[in-house]
């Protein structure tokens, strides 16, 4: 349902026009764009009649107020144990990005009890509200919002040699980190991928580099899902996700990913110390 909303939004005229303006305008609109609150319309696109309720006890979002590198803005979302117990999905939204839904994480049985923490890095295109929205099993939407000053993240030049980057795409590093305070595991996943946004110029050809990004990342522990992420162009180059998950009998972490070209990538890590 959310995936459909995402595709709809990506292909909608409104977004294409916005993206074109953004490209033509060279990001000078960053300040002017603050004047308009686009959240009500965006919320309707994403959730229909349902309203996301700001609830900073149920979900917290850490983000820098001023991002020094708009193409690499770290976000950390924390769900206290009570929220984690009923959390079905986590969505990251950047209101003013050309594709506002950054990523949509669907949790599985291995997502763990206790505090659930998820950290990743995003591109931010202009001064914007950034939101972490949890969808609970009973359909409630709980939200934390932060305003971030950053501009130009989605069109930041991709200067590395395209062939070399694509040859390396999919290379993974999966690390099992120390246990969390409440006995959960913590993992880190890094995947080499250019995450072409479709808004970056290729100077050699004069054309925009076609969008090409990781569409899906699925993480499983011992055959059970930790999360399945569906994502778009707002996830930074070389996607990097830190996440908590449940310990279990089989501690093998398996990661599968697929990009918009249908290329699939796979990696795995044994339990810590093995």
């Amino acid at each position: 349902m959310v995936h459909r909303a995402f595709t709809t939004r990506l292909s909608s005229l409104k977004v294409l026009v916005a993206a074109a303006l953004v490209v033509a305008g060279g990001w000078t609109g960053a300040l002017a764009a603050d004047e308009e609150d686009i959240w009500p319309a965006l919320q309707k696109d994403l959730f229909g009649a349902r309203e996301a309720v700001e609830d900073t006890r149920a979900v917290t979002l850490e983000a820098p107020y001023r991002a020094e590198d708009a193409a690499l803005v770290p976000l950390t979302v924390r769900l206290p144990a009570a929220t984690a117990a009923t959390a079905k999905k986590l969505m990251l939204v950047i209101d003013k990005n050309p594709a506002p839904l950054v990523a949509d994480f669907t949790f599985g049985p291995a997502a763990g009890a206790g505090e659930r923490v998820l950290e990743t890095r995003v591109r931010i295109d202009m001064y914007s509200n950034v939101r972490a929205i949890v969808e609970t099993n009973d359909g409630k939407l709980l939200m934390a919002t932060k305003f971030v000053k950053a501009a130009g993240g989605c069109s930041a030049p991709a200067l590395k040699d395209t062939d070399a980057v694509l040859a390396e795409a999919g290379k993974m590093q999966i690390k099992v980190l120390a246990n969390t305070a409440d006995g959960q595991r913590e993992g880190q996943l890094k995947i080499r991928h250019p995450q072409y946004s479709g808004l970056q110029l290729n100077q050699a050809t004069g054309y925009y580099i076609p969008a090409k990004f990781l569409r899906v990342i699925e993480v499983q522990r011992g055959g059970e899902r930790v999360f399945r992420m569906e994502g778009g162009i707002s996830l930074s180059e070389d996607p990097n996700i830190r996440f908590t998950y449940a310990p279990g009998g089989d501690e093998t972490l398996v990661v599968t990913a697929e990009d918009t070209d249908g290329r699939t990538f796979k990696g795995q890590a044994g339990p810590k110390g093995s």
Binding site: G26, T76, R121, G152, A178, Q188, L201, Q203, D238
Partner: protein, 330 residues
């Protein structure tokens, strides 16, 4: 005329004494930027805009500042080398207006043709004065990757810096790309004076080019060397350290950094920057090893360096962020 110090001094004295000649030289100034220049800082004489740091080698010290209307984009170093037949300009300042002042300074010293305008890398504070030299029809010279890097960022550089400078100080500023791309060490002859251009591997940016005056052992390093002004990392921290380590082993009489100086002893001048990069790299590596995060790194790494640099708060966190993303794949 050989480019001896006394000959240059004589020429300068002569030019100062004969305003008519200056007017003649100024007539080569293009209409695009002359109006913008007309009302600027007439109290600063053209020849005091630069210092002769070695015989026939001149350098301008830009302010240690961010782009602002008050500094008109004069926030980086520039210079030129005078041969027997021609002049090579190295970097042109951060606006057409500053480029025009550099041009005026050159014309207060020599009437020789400006044959080359060399950019040490793509950043706007080093290339935006190029427009002031178009009328001379020089070869615009840069690292072979400069055009790609600058073109990809052109719209953004122009809009951001126009906003920071204001319409007036920005007037006439535009992108002028290299017409001569340097991919291997290349010698340019200014008439009895050879300068050597050496493109570097990715370091400060992916298009750093250094300019070596063989006659005096002077090297224009561009932003491969920062002094006073906080370094800015837009390439590779590992590459930058490697380039500095190579250069510090070379016999060089003096260097001109991209910011600070402008004439500094070598290799001593490299020490603070090399130290800064090492501190960042070491602390980030320790954090990565301890499984700490990018945001934690931006809050703690390199803070011991704060008092050593101006504009630290404007650039440091971004440097840490870029270095972290590079080093976590080691």
């Amino acid at each position: 005329m050989p480019p001896s110090p006394s000959a240059d001094f004589d020429r300068r004295t002569l030019l100062r004494a004969v305003p008519g000649l200056l007017t003649l030289f100024a007539s080569s100034v293009s209409a695009a930027w002359r109006p913008a220049f007309a009302d600027t800082r007439s109290e600063v004489s053209p020849e005091s805009f630069v210092a002769e740091i070695a015989p026939g080698v001149y350098a301008h010290r830009g302010q240690i500042a961010l782009y602002a209307p008050a500094n008109e984009g004069d926030i980086s170093n520039a210079g030129f080398i005078v041969g027997r037949e021609a002049v090579a300009v190295i970097d042109t300042g951060g606006s057409a207006r500053i480029g025009a002042r550099l041009h005026q300074a050159i014309r207060s010293i020599t009437p020789l043709p400006i044959r080359y305008v060399i950019n040490t890398h793509m950043h706007p504070d080093h290339v935006f004065g190029n427009a002031a030299f178009e009328a001379d029809q020089p070869a615009f010279v840069g690292h072979h990757k400069l055009a790609r890097g600058l073109s990809a960022r052109a719209d953004r550089y122009l809009s951001i810096n126009k906003e920071a400078l204001g319409e007036e100080a920005f007037a006439g500023t535009k992108i002028v790309l290299p017409t001569l791309a340097i991919s291997t060490p290349t010698v340019l002859d200014l008439g009895g004076r050879e300068i050597l251009l050496e493109p570097q591997k990715t370091a400060h940016t992916d298009n750093d080019l250094i300019v070596r005056d063989r006659q005096t052992g002077t090297v224009f390093l561009g932003d491969l060397l920062f002094s006073e002004h906080a370094p800015t990392l837009d390439g590779s921290i590992l590459g930058w350290m490697a380039v500095l380590d190579t250069l510090t082993k070379e016999p060089i009489q003096r260097v001109v950094p991209g910011h600070g100086g402008p004439s500094m002893p070598w290799p001593d001048a490299a020490a603070p920057l090399r130290h800064y990069l090492q501190v960042i790299a070491d602390e980030i590596r320790a954090m990565i090893k301890a499984n700490r995060t990018l945001s934690e790194a931006t809050e703690s790494v390199g803070l011991s360096e704060k008092s050593a640099w101006s504009l630290f708060e404007d650039y440091h966190v971004r440097n840490v962020s870029a270095a972290f993303a590079e080093l976590e794949w080691e």
